[in-house]
Symmetry: none
Subunit: 216 residues, 4 copies
């Protein structure tokens, strides 16, 4: 019966009417990841049992194993997945013509904004060093690489002076750590401190960066 229907008109490129098998498969995969993001973000890796994730996804436990070989496989994929979403957000949020400390301020601000709206991300990131070290390394390496590209340009422009190549690498780790602890304190702590604390943190961060790292 379906054969007699005008196929061209009924199935436009992005039909939402009848999901194909492949689309459903992709959808299930996405929903498993989303469920994992939610559960791990709220309760941590240790409490993220297969049964919880499957239930939240709305599938049977066995279905999980059609998509991931082991629970660890999911964990190893989770942080790179959500980490990329965060990087995409930051990338889209900053003005690409800004430079120097202004650019760095914008990045930090975007980072804080993202965490405010995705409070689970911090936990997924933080616990990953314990529960998914491979994923953690991948994520950190990606962050470092992006950071380094940015700093290298600043060095070329003369915005940064007096730091050796190796010292700059150390500086990158320090700033990543600074970000993480500020997040831990002001974002994760939750409550009323958030808003005010966030602004104080940003202004302190800017002073540190502009006064200490970038030569005037």
């Amino acid at each position: 019966m379906r054969c007699s229907l005008p196929v061209v008109a009924r199935r436009p490129k992005k039909s939402t009417q009848r999901p194909t098998r492949v689309e459903k498969t992709q959808d299930t995969y996405d929903r498993l990841l989303a469920a994992a993001e939610s559960v791990v973000g709220q309760e941590g890796y240790a409490a993220a049992s297969i049964s919880k994730i499957a239930a939240k996804t709305g599938v049977a436990q066995g279905t999980f194993y059609n998509y991931f070989e082991t629970r660890q496989d999911l964990f190893d994929v989770l942080l790179p997945h959500v980490g990329q979403k965060m990087l995409d957000y930051i990338s889209s949020a900053i003005d690409h013509h800004s430079a120097g400390s202004a650019r760095e301020e914008a990045r930090f601000q975007a980072f804080c904004d993202y965490l405010s709206d995705n409070s689970g991300f911090y936990r997924i990131l933080y616990e990953a060093e314990v529960h998914a070290p491979e994923a953690h390394k991948i994520h950190i390496d990606r962050l470092v690489a992006g950071f380094r590209r940015s700093l290298d340009r600043s060095v070329e422009r003369g915005e940064i002076k007096g730091y050796s190549k190796e010292e700059l690498e150390a500086v990158i780790y320090m700033f990543l750590g600074a970000r993480a602890y500020v997040a831990m304190r002001y974002i994760r702590g939750g409550g009323s401190k958030r808003k005010a604390g966030r602004d104080q943190a940003i202004s302190a961060y800017v002073k540190l960066v502009s006064g200490g790292l970038f030569s005037s």
Copy 2:
């Protein structure tokens, strides 16, 4: 039988002859903590089962519960315990007459030294945010308090200018985070990078602190 012992000799100040009941109790408690420090430091909280800790201590599993109500109780006590040892070390390692950025450099250096010799400490600290959040908060608060006292003195001396009280708190968290990530990278990473990396990190840290935080 015990009654026949010479009473006077039973509790000399530093008797090594016959530990009293109280001493034995204290000793068992200390050994349980030491075993926990060793196991958690090497294998993490999740793998630190009661049976492992009890075996390492040389007591039965049930004995553990004469000293701690639950496994979590032990975890909640562990980081403050080992954290204090670290603070004592740093305190003893720095010159108490130093001030400003020189003092801060000495603290950072001592921190790095301590981690080199106590690689397990980092893991106990790091995973505590996941597995013993109460203990983590206690430890961080203690660090922050000590840091703040130091910075307050620098402000009084005019070594630091232009930072509000709240901004200084943010700065403290940033430096704690910077330390932690540098440790993760250069200390925990292990291998040949350690020594060289450590020195680069210290010099970068000093530049950041002296150029950025402390007015010249």
Copy 3:
């Protein structure tokens, strides 16, 4: 489209051009059995999952159930299938004019030869008593029937004397058991013992058969 093919050419006796639907069905069935033989022979019944057999056959899991109602159904068919191949081999390997103990020796020799080249057969047979008792019974009954025909002829010829009908049945089982254990020891054991052990076993078997069973 298929309709336009020249009808006559469509089913030549041994067409290799276009397998008919029936041929393809038979072929898939055969390949499923062959895959099962390979997997069960190498890894045993317990490890012979549907997914493994289907993968080895090159079909989807679901396809399996178009040919067998359950996994057990396959197992119940497997040993009779491969067992017949063995019997055909032995039958083709012995001289049909031989008789008495010479014939029995030839059968044992052929049995050993077959196992050497089809090491998986032994496992399919052996584990069948556990995992496919029905099939095992069918196979054993077939062996016994063939054996009995042979012994009956020897009785008629006066080569065997002094054994009642029921005792001969018992003797058959004993010889089957003897074969199986010798196989277990010398064939399955593998290694250097094989060749020498096999020859020793054959000569011992012959002595037993000729001296004990067949009157001289």
Copy 4:
């Protein structure tokens, strides 16, 4: 209070009044093995789940793991355990002054008797080659060793002639196999055939042994 009781009188060497902890532990171990013997004997290794064995023993599932590290560990211990019981029975059942084929007949008869009363033993033995190969090897080696000692004595006495050392080893395996298959047929088969079949098997076995193996 118990202290004031006359200890000597109240606790004779083998008191059955108050089992000590050690006795209870041994008892639990024994009951686990007995439960395993029963379950494996009736339903086979594959169906012998921990939960079944624990339930039959009357303990929690976890208790099982205080006595065996894994399910396989139990299996590896089961056959040697029940095998020894069988050997003890046979040893106690035969006349130790008998020799030659008469002794071998007695052994076979005792074997059959044992199987009649312990029908599960055959399954534990048979499936062991599949599910507990280590245990199977241990048991078979033990059987072979005992058999060989017996045959060696017969050789010394001149009851056996014309078999090389290696051929005798093959003969041992053949007799073990013969026994096993006869057991499979007449014992396991169950029903009315048992009694009659058993006697036929014994007489056939005797003829084979006396006429074939032992020179007259």
